[in-house]
């Protein structure tokens, strides 16, 4: 009993230090908002309806248009550097046959058009979300973000932050296979 009295506080303190140390040094979750789980995963995609970025850019879509087959919805902006970094992978996904839609987040129409001309437009349709109201509806915290919507219009997966080759291989592609198979 007497030994317990001595050991217990030390043990509790050590355990506390351990937990705090682990949380502090764990880069995976260290204060990174993109690691927050979205409450929308598993729920129907909230209704949004967006106009086209410009007359010559295919687009304007609403949540209803997403139904019927699996769709990747990528939230991007011309001013967003990580979006540019992930753009080749988005382009690759579209080239491989995925149906990719875009939400142009808090952008200027002319800037978006220039950006798409320069870097290519892999999107089947782009919705222009200048005031980010639709992004808010979908729980977007920043750009880029990527949603996978299943054929029923349910959000199956959400990735916050740029898609890297690792994310594509370990998260996006397995998820696509899973919901397309099932």
């Amino acid at each position: 009993m007497r030994r317990l009295v001595v050991i217990l506080p030390v043990a509790i303190f050590a355990a506390l230090l351990g937990v705090m140390g682990a949380l502090l040094t764990d880069g995976e979750r260290n204060n990174d908002p993109s690691r927050l789980p979205s409450p929308l995963v598993g729920k129907p995609a909230p209704a949004i309806s967006l106009p086209a970025v410009a007359d010559n850019i295919p687009g304007g879509f609403s949540t209803e248009d997403l139904k019927g087959q699996v769709t990747i919805v990528n939230v991007f902006a011309s001013w967003c550097i990580p979006c540019l970094a992930e753009h080749p992978l988005i382009t690759q996904l579209a080239a491989d046959g995925a149906r990719v839609y875009g939400i142009n987040h808090r952008d200027k129409s002319a800037d978006a058009v220039t950006w798409l001309r320069r870097h290519g437009n892999p999107y089947k349709a782009i919705g222009f979300d200048a005031d980010a109201r639709a992004s808010l509806e979908w729980g977007v915290t920043g750009v880029p973000e990527t949603f996978i919507i299943d054929a029923n219009g349910t959000i199956a997966y959400k990735h916050a932050g740029p898609i890297t080759p690792e994310v594509l291989k370990q998260k996006i592609l397995p998820k696509l296979r899973e919901i397309e198979g099932g």
């Binding site: 929308l40 808010l136 729980g139």
Partner: protein, 208 residues
């Protein structure tokens, strides 16, 4: 005089109050209806800006905080009550947007850890104190001196005290007693060794 003090106090409070409100809310966001606007402000202080994390949307200058403030006002104008507005945002951004986490299964540890820790620490403190007390009392065992020893000791003390010059104080008496009592104790193992060592040295003729 009292009036001057009151006036000063009011002036000071006015200055402090005007310094306090955040500047994040921009004039174009403010609703015309002051009652709705007040509700919007109150709801906003409870909602976390999801990209700044430690600021409420009422305090934050981030774009998304502004958008969320506008959304709060939009819902209020649409006729939602406060709870419906908060639920609308929680449905999209999760419980994380609440600066005051709700009490539910996955936050049990968060809410219960402080009271549990308080109880554990209080219990440990009591146990520590009891152990300490027991150890302190352990020194006062049964009297090592027999009654006759004690009588002899008392007589010795009295005799020394009487022969010492002049009028020994009570303090001196107790010191004599302590010294004699120490002398009456059975020798410690250490003090037994000491003479043996000394004896060996003097008994070694080759050293001399």
């Amino acid at each position: 005089m009292r009036q001057i003090t009151a006036a000063l106090a009011i002036t000071l409070m006015t200055f402090l109050a005007s310094a306090a409100p955040s500047l994040a809310v921009e004039p174009d966001e403010v609703l015309a209806d002051p009652v709705l606007e007040n509700r919007a402000r109150e709801i906003s202080t409870e909602l976390r800006c999801v990209v700044c994390q430690n600021q409420s949307i009422d305090d934050s200058d981030a774009d998304i905080a502004r958008d969320m403030r506008l959304l709060v006002r939009e819902r209020l104008v649409a006729g939602d009550n406060d709870e419906e507005v908060v639920n609308y945002i929680v449905a999209r951004y999760g419980d994380f947007v609440l600066l005051r986490p709700p009490f539910q299964p996955n936050t049990l540890a968060l809410w219960l850890a402080p009271p549990i820790m308080a109880v554990v620490i209080a219990t440990l403190s009591v146990l520590f104190y009891q152990t300490y007390q027991r150890r302190r009392l352990a020194g006062t065992g049964p009297d090592p001196l027999s009654p006759s020893d004690r009588a002899e000791l008392d007589a010795l003390v009295e005799r020394i005290a009487r022969t010492s010059p002049p009028n020994p104080s009570n303090m001196q008496r107790s010191r004599f007693r302590a010294e004699i009592e120490a002398g009456l104790k059975p020798p410690e193992p250490d003090s037994e060794d000491a003479p043996t060592d000394g004896g060996e040295q003097t008994d070694d003729p080759q050293r001399a």
